[in-house]
Amino acid sequence: MAAAGAGRLRRAASALLLRSPRLPARELSAPARLYHKKVVDHYENPRNVGSLDKTSKNVGTGLVGAPACGDVMKLQIQVDEKGKIVDARFKTFGCGSAIASSSLATEWVKGKTVEEALTIKNTDIAKELCLPPVKLHCSMLAEDAIKAALADYKLKQEPKKEEAEKK
């Protein structure tokens, strides 16, 4: 309480002296324009931007969203014979929060099995990135992208399974 009061006093004093009050570092209830440093970090130090060979049988590709909505995510996973995701790549057309959500998604799916990856929830992504309410749909789209990539991978495995059964 005293800290908040002192903080307010500092801000008032600083405004009086024509200094711009520094914006708070914690931005849990910040408007969309105040980018959380975690979101900025994913843009400045991107993890897993790129593409995998989408024709490969071990690669699942998920493409979700629409340019008219301002959000398109492409997420690709590479799965080994044991069903573990060994590599993931993403590309996103969208705001900073969308880029961060899809980037985080690729980080999280790596090392998980296909079944474990299905359990990743948009609420976890949003919490990790401290997304404000207006940006929650970015995390939902990231979850959709993961599921789409897994679904595509499963689809590619089916003719293989049939062949194995036939043999």
Partner: protein, 406 residues
């Protein structure tokens, strides 16, 4: 006095030739002031401040949202904030008389900028209030079938200039009232209320390097346009807007108008040159960039560009050293793309990719070059991260794809 010394101390952070204050201020001066750590309320002492790079303020390229105070305006206002603080409606003493004189002088300055008579200028709290008064007039018109045409002079998002003189001609021949919101146009392009047959005009202080919280409405006297007051009270401003007129603010508005009248031609030339520089450099280095808005009937200081395959907000985040806008400030909290871009028929994905660059009186060539360089760098980077760019490079037609809606 305190404000002035603090401003001067801040100005001292950037090397400035002494006594050059009388000229237009050193370009970019107030934008490079080192931001001190929030913990210390004590000024300066840069020895303990964090490294300079991390505390510099961003460049300001958002003049359509608001403009900094011209120092000449601040000089004009300051005496009325500290010394000549009388109420301009006080009739019985020198404080009132000198304040009233300043108010009338400011009224003359505003009127002369738009070719009006000072008796036709009413001070308000801003263009929004002026718009409300003008539109409300429609409901209180004497003839029941009178109508009103209201058009923005210069659009704040894409900078397009409307053919005001032609519209004024049509309205006057049909005996219809013509109102224009000239907030982005006053002091930037030549306006004359008589040549253009304008009946009502809204003026905003903080869009023309004047103070915030003040504006004016021009209301034609011949033929008389009747308006109904939005707020009632002591009958100030000929009964059209009651409330004490804030002398320091209107002095600021008047000074801003006078400065604008003097500087209009020079500013227009300089801003056009900088705008051309910005657009040429960007278009030369990046493919698939679209300028929104009619290139001919266009105010050069407002450039709205769409960078295909890159989303606007991500570009704004990347350009964190530059204060820019994507769409108007009024709608920045919503998820909708700009209604203006939609109205001119821009594809929705391009509407999401638009950035507005504002070039103003104090924008320097260095700032434009820096912004252009960073913009090119980050657009290239974001395109590398964009699935749409990748698809286009592979020769896929994006319009042929069935997208999943969320």
């Amino acid at each position: 006095m305190l404000l002035r010394t603090a401003w001067r101390r801040a100005a001292a952070a950037v090397p400035v030739a002494p006594g050059s204050r009388s000229e237009a201020p050193t370009r970019g001066l107030r934008l490079r002031v080192v931001d001190h750590a929030p913990q210390s309320a004590v000024p300066s002492d840069t020895a303990t401040a964090p490294p300079a790079e991390s505390v510099l303020r961003p460049l300001y390229m958002d003049v359509q949202a608001t403009t900094p105070l011209d120092p000449r305006v601040l000089d004009a206002m300051l005496p009325y904030l500290v010394n000549y603080y009388g109420n301009p409606h006080s009739r019985t003493h020198a404080y009132g008389w000198e304040s009233e004189a300043a108010m009338e002088h400011a009224r003359q300055q505003v009127a002369s900028l738009i070719g009006a008579d000072p008796r036709e200028i009413i001070f308000t709290s801003g263009a929004t209030e002026s718009n409300n008064i003008a539109i409300k007039e429609l409901e209180s018109a004497i003839q029941p079938d009178t109508s009103l045409v209201s058009v923005m002079t210069v659009n704040n998002e894409i900078g397009v200039k409307q053919p005001i003189a032609e519209i004024g001609q049509i309205c006057s021949s049909r005996k219809v009232y013509f109102h224009t919101d000239a907030a982005q146009a006053v002091g930037k392009i030549p306006l004359d209320v008589n040549d253009m047959k304008i009946d009502l005009m809204s003026i905003s202080g903080h869009k023309i390097y004047g103070p915030k919280g003040v504006g004016a409405i021009y209301i034609r006297r011949r033929p008389r346009v009747r308006v109904e007051a939005l707020q009632s009270g002591g009958g100030q401003e000929r009964g059209m807007r009651s409330g004490t007129v804030p002398t320091p603010l209107v002095v600021g508005l008047g000074a801003a108008c006078e400065v604008a009248q003097q500087e209009m031609e020079y500013d227009h030339k300089r801003i056009s040159k900088l705008a051309d520089r910005l657009t040429q450099k960007i278009m030369k280095s990046l493919p698939d960039v679209v300028m929104n808005g009619d290139p001919e009937h266009h105010y050069p200081g407002c450039i709205n560009l769409s960078f295909a395959y890159v989303e606007g907000e991500s570009l704004l985040m990347a350009l964190k050293d530059v204060a820019l806008s994507s769409g108007s400030a009024c709608t920045s909290a919503s998820l909708e793309p700009s209604y203006v871009l939609r109205a001119i028929g821009t594809d929705e994905d391009l509407a999401h990719s638009s950035i507005r660059f504002g070039i103003g009186r104090f924008t320097t060539e260095e700032e434009v070059d820096y912004t252009v360089e960073k913009c090119i760098h980050h657009v290239k980077r974001l395109r590398e991260m964009s699935p749409l760019w990748e698809m286009v490079q592979d020769g896929i037609d994006l319009k042929s794809i069935k997208w999943t809606q969320h």
